[in-house]
Symmetry: C2
DNA sequence: ATATTAAGCTTAAACGATTAAACTATCAAG
DNA sequence: CTTGATAGTTTAATCGTTTAAGCTTAATAT
């Protein structure tokens, strides 16, 4: 790589010290009263040499990198990709960059990633924490490193977060099924200690109870992320093809829903006649399924923007707590 | 943020110079013959203080950041997200990090991004170039900045790239339709000057000609990326619902295919009876459509890995040219 | 006894920028 | 003719590392 043009080169060319060059190029010529003539010579030379400041050097001096570290749960999930993009855009609006990592729902990997990003002196974090990532959160707090959690948080561990009101969102979803007249309602969720997922299950149970509907334990199933297909097939078999199939199914995430819809296709079940479906999050699949799927949509743009804004506040030294549980939207289509 | 522990702190604690600390922590104690005792004291102190080297300072010194700049065309497209993830993983295997940007198919934005990343002293680029990005490529060449193009390249502009053999891939797709007995075959592609897209159209025409099939100009349509829905609806209306509809449709990208499938759903057309479909790239949609969609799959993992490996070669100073046109796989399902 | 070598450590410059402090020249006021 | 202010510039330290070169001290060879 051709050696880059530095302040020194400009200084030499114009015949001044690097200090002057720095002042001029940072628009401090007034405060530091740099001579008109010299100033324009410097600007001229900078342009001629196509000077590009070395951000590494700048960062070393200032301790600021104007960079946000983003750790998402699984970049292969469109949810993560979408929110990453929003965060990138919002950050860019504020002249911040984003560097990325995916923890793949693995606290260990998330920890490594955090270390790597910290060594790169990022100014703060936006993190979708994995299960068992409490220690990580505490580390950040103890070291006074600005961060905002998104999508998930740990109820026992006060921290800034921007998330969904998962209980309310799920409740409304189940309520919708109930109002449509379904009585035997099943649910599939991830088996996970993550609070935001548990809230969805809690809402499901509560809604059934509030409306005095029958609730069999066997109607609420949990699948392992790492053997999703096998688990899904097993549970769907039980729920949909057994002697007493459920009439409606609440699928508590986009990945779960995708598998569910595939299963339904494969077994030529009719939606909503054989089984009504309601999904969570977004995926092309919902619109593309032969009967577009009613689903619970998260306010992605709001989450992303609020997270960036909260983080930048923190970085600026403004410790206003941000703890948002935003509302979801029920998108009614034809699947129930 | 609490001030971080530096080499100096360790040096002070142990009572030696920073040089020794640096040697020990970089495993040069043998070459630089550091005393056994001191060395272990240094390691001890480093652990006790939880020393994390400041990568910014390291980079400033070495001129290396161990970071690859990745510019994808549109991070919202699963194609980009997927390849980004593969590149990230592969880079990580080689102890490299990846910083990201999305050009949103806009050469201007790509240029800005490149400047930003360059100022951060990334060691090299992997770029999916936007249309009209030739100047950018030339800039990189002139400045001897290591880079590898992916997915697309400019035929007139020799550069390293890892891409698909789009002509062959598309030809095989159309050939498949022909062998299935379809005679009136339409195609929808993006209106774009990008070579890789044009190759798909060229293959379509050539295949029809080679097999002596009728080819009406009006069967090959082009849509604008920025008004995709409107254009698609218009053309699909013409192709599928006119007096003389086509029997089969080659949809030349995942986004185009998704819109196409939605249209087909909305208008209750039967696949493949009313219209056979073949898609390009990957999307959940293909598996999820009520009749799983035959499609042309790109070897994502190979592309990503080859690109990283080629780039690291370049960075290491090894100027072997890499110009790969990899083969696609025809994934046969039930849509034709 | 003297030179040589090796071991074990420190010094200081360098990377590229920022910035407080010092310096010089010019001019005005007392 | 001082003194002081002002404008315009340079000097040098600093951020946290790396690393060539230099410095001791002790051991070994001649």
């Amino acid at each position: 790589m051709k050696r880059k043009v530095s302040l020194k080169d400009i200084a030499q060319q114009v015949g001044v010290s690097t200090a002057l060059v720095s002042y001029v190029l940072n628009g401090q010529e007034k405060e530091k009263r740099v001579g008109e003539e010299i100033a324009s010579k410097i600007r001229e030379a900078a342009r001629a040499l196509n000077y590009q400041p070395n951000q590494i050097a700048k960062s070393l001096k200032s301790g600021k990198t104007h960079t946000i570290g983003l750790i998402v749960a699984d970049i292969a999930n469109p949810f993560s990709a979408h929110i990453a993009r929003i965060i990138e855009d919002e950050a860019k609006r504020h002249k911040y960059n984003v560097v990325f990592g995916s923890s793949d729902e693995n606290a260990e990997k998330a920890w490594d990633l955090m270390k790597v990003l910290l060594n790169r002196q990022i100014d703060g974090f936006i993190i979708a924490p994995a299960e068992h990532a409490e220690e990580q959160v505490r580390y950040l707090q103890e070291h006074h490193i600005p961060f905002v959690l998104i999508d998930r948080y740990f109820p026992g561990l006060p921290a800034n977060y921007v998330a969904l009101d998962n209980y309310k969102a799920a409740y409304e979803g189940v309520e919708h099924l109930i109002q449509k007249g379904y009585k035997h309602i099943g649910m599939i969720n991830f088996k996970s200690g993550l609070h935001h997922l548990q809230e969805r299950t809690r809402a499901y149970h509560q809604a059934l109870q509030d409306f005095n509907l029958p609730a069999a334990e066997s109607w609420c199933r949990e699948v392992n992320e790492d053997m999703l297909k096998e688990d899904m097939d097993q549970h769907l078999q039980d729920l949909l093809l057994s002697g007493q199939p459920v009439e409606a199914l609440f699928l508590a995430s986009n990945k779960i829903a995708i598998h569910g819809l595939k299963f339904i296709n494969e077994h030529k079940l009719r939606v909503p006649e054989d089984v009504a479906v309601i999904g969570f999050d977004e995926t092309d699949a919902y619109e593309l399924f032969y009967r577009p799927v009613t689903h619970i949509r998260q306010p992605m743009a709001e989450i992303g923007r609020a997270a960036v804004q909260a983080l930048l506040q923190l970085i600026a030294g403004n410790p206003e707590p941000t703890q948002l549980n935003l509302a979801a939207t029920l998108v009614v289509k034809e699947s129930c």
